[in-house]
Symmetry: C2
Subunit: 452 residues, 2 copies
């Protein structure tokens, strides 16, 4: 562990508090770099899942903040002894839970730069580079995914970085909602109906509730083992027809490319064909699954994307970008801006009023926003599409190896049934040996079950 020495007490003693002295910054940040590099070096030595009990930390820390400064060295000792034992090590190569949250040196450097500038890019003028680099990077990633130009700034659409999928769904839902209420009137809010499969992430119904959609009109459409847990266009059509007959207004469909429970892929083209018949906004949530589509051999999962209204993908899941970073592309940025724009006196400025620039505050929930595109920019430039593709392919190869291991043992099956082991390969540091070790552990568990 790097040693982060105390704040120079002379500063404080002299009555001069200097919270950002460049040389003090340099000294302490170098020590932090060593601490972090050492953590990454020995990450395999920690248990992946934290072993602490609820409220473990409460008794170790004082109830009130200190009045006097404490030396950084003492704080970092507490990080090692109090914080790290309570961490579930998402970056461990032995992490196969939930979904991976992948990382890289380039993204870390980008995050450092983002923090360094601390520029608050709510509108163009507040920091032009922040807005303009985001526009470039969103177009870059759209190109890598072969999205149609209707989603690019260089075409007729555009993209924006949100924090998480929840916000991407929320803002597009609000855009669709306000478009519909503009036609029908505010009193029809409780008549709006929304659609997704029963495999859709829970964040969808949560976003609907936040946006004031009547909970009774949030449709969770059934899927089946036989249908690969994908949403059927026929099921969608009949649900929409039923709602229309009941006097409701079909509003929004959330499709998924890679569901959380079973990695199912909805047939987005066929579903969008149905939705178009009823003027329903179609969103594609490909939070992790979309990343695979930078490889030509997986791109077919996005077939039909040219027919939808919006797409969200979180590079913090599978494109090495650290949390949080969710890319949202829309065909009609104007629909977002109409629903989310604010124009207070204290933010008025010439470039915004001339409409010659993009003001990203009108594309998101919040006002303030960080310079997040730096992370993605560094990842894409520093590694190139070639390495990003090989990273995806390596994970897929390891997952297939695991599948072969499971199939080779008659006591296991690759499941289509109801209870299952969910094994998610993809942590940045995972190599074949970690997958093999996990399989050994699972087999030992099965051995134990057989003996008992």
């Amino acid at each position: 562990m790097g040693s982060l020495d105390s704040n120079t007490p002379t500063d404080h003693a002299a009555g001069q508090f200097s919270p950002l002295d460049p040389e003090e910054f340099r000294r302490q940040a170098h020590q932090m770099v060593d601490f972090i590099a050492d953590y990454y070096r020995k990450i395999e030595t920690y248990p992946v899942l934290s072993q602490v009990q609820p409220a473990y930390l409460h008794s170790q820390l004082p109830q009130t903040p200190p009045y006097r400064p404490e030396p950084m060295d003492a704080i970092m000792k507490d990080v090692q002894s109090q914080i790290i034992p309570g961490i579930t090590h998402w970056l461990s190569p032995n992490f196969f839970g939930f979904f991976p949250a992948t990382v890289s040196t380039a993204a870390f450097l980008g995050e450092m730069l983002c923090t360094c500038f601390n520029s608050v890019g709510f509108n163009w003028l507040a920091s032009p580079a922040s807005t303009e680099l985001e526009m470039v990077v969103m177009d870059w990633l759209a190109h890598a995914l072969k999205l149609p130009s209707s989603f690019m700034f260089s075409g007729t659409g555009g993209g924006v970085i949100q924090n998480t999928t929840s916000e991407a769904v929320l803002v597009t839902l609000v855009a669709a909602r306000d478009r519909a209420l503009g036609v029908h009137g505010i009193d029809f809010l409780s008549k709006l109906a929304v659609y997704a499969s029963d495999q859709t992430h829970s964040t969808f119904s949560k976003a609907c509730r936040i946006a004031g959609i009547n909970p009774a009109n949030i449709r969770s459409l059934p899927t089946s083992v036989e249908g690969g847990f994908a949403l059927s266009p026929a099921v969608l059509r009949s649900a929409v027809e039923e709602d229309l007959a009941a006097g409701l207004i079909p509003l929004y469909l959330c499709t998924t490319v890679g569901t959380t429970s079973t990695t199912a892929v909805d047939p987005i083209g066929a579903l969008a064909d149905v939705a178009r018949d009823y003027g329903v906004w179609v969103h594609v949530d490909c939070a992790y699954g979309g990343s695979a589509c930078i490889c030509p051999e997986f791109r077919h999962h996005l077939n039909g994307v040219d027919l939808v209204d919006s797409v969200s993908l979180s590079p913090h899941k599978w494109l090495l970008s650290y949390l949080d970073c969710c890319c949202l592309w829309v065909k009609q940025p104007g629909s977002l801006v109409r629903a989310l724009s604010t124009n207070p006196e204290y933010l008025k400025n010439k470039p915004s009023e001339s409409s010659s620039v993009v003001d990203f505050k009108d594309w998101q929930v919040g006002t303030g926003r960080r310079f997040k595109s730096l992370r993605l920019w560094l990842v894409m430039r520093s590694y190139g599409l070639a390495n990003l593709q090989s990273h995806i392919r390596s994970d897929v190869r390891m997952a297939r190896m695991f599948e072969r291991l499971v199939r080779s043992d008659p006591r296991f099956e690759v499941t289509g049934g109801k209870f299952m082991l969910r094994f998610a390969v993809g942590a940045t540091l995972t190599e074949e040996r970690h997958v093999l070790a996990a399989w050994k552990l699972i087999k030992e568990g099965a051995d134990g079950l057989e003996r008992s």
Copy 2:
């Protein structure tokens, strides 16, 4: 500028892509530390406001991402030549626009740690330390602000870190909304009415629109020069009575301690007294103003806070914490959880089901969340309340010095009128000499106007 060398090509050539090699990380991150320290050292040499024209970056960057990796050295040259000219330098000591976004070495180190662990603390189990340190730190800051124990985990309430004030307002508004609709039924959504003064940040009406509040029922109550632009309890009462008479349901009042345009302070105790008569949820937005209340001599601005339902304060504004970090305290966490909880199969776990732990995903819009409390923890421990207080006092002292300068020149007045110069002191690096230089510039502008 530090030199960040190319990725080791041997890795790629060998077909082995290693995006998080600890020694490569160490080497490149050390170089980035030097780059950033050098940037902070020379930050005064940059024009505060970026001088670029709209679309300046578009022509400098390729339209598509690179296929092959590029050396980090080349990327950092572009940061210097293409990105930095497009940045409005919020950290410059000569930055007196908008509101300051303050920073510190300790917060930077905390952000590096947060990024390092990349733990995704949506529920307790996903990373216990992330949840528990946040609980401790939220209580610490509540203590520093002398909030009543009804807002603390050690009492009967609790706090959570949101990204921005917008989200803090949105989630409390949704909690209040769903509490009301639970009584009246979903069909009354368009009858709910919300209140704030005409000085309230635009983010309030935006949050209301997102939550599906009828735009016709968003009251922007008048304030006056004579009243110091504070919201009058009598004005509130008459607006609420009028809405009741019209068959509406008064729902939510957003008060402000330190408005954006004129730093007005609403009398929160007296307003809460009115609101309580009608069962209206009262929120205090003290995004920047609340930070001053860690000093006993300014604490009176929060008098009456024991009567409200929720309070939000953004340490990224005036407590040295970098973006984004908005602390939200609520008296009844259960009301947030009822409105925002999700419980999908893939996130079920024993600690959550036993209700022995807090799952912060149910206190916010998104699911995923970063380990943000590390930043605040390092700031509070590394500097101590003593230094944080002296930081606030130093800014106030400089603002008063500027006021004296203005009063000493008969051509200017400290305004209560309609058009004004807004001069916001508080960037981390600002010293008296920067304020004096800005005043010299303003006087020269006035000289020019007089001559013309």
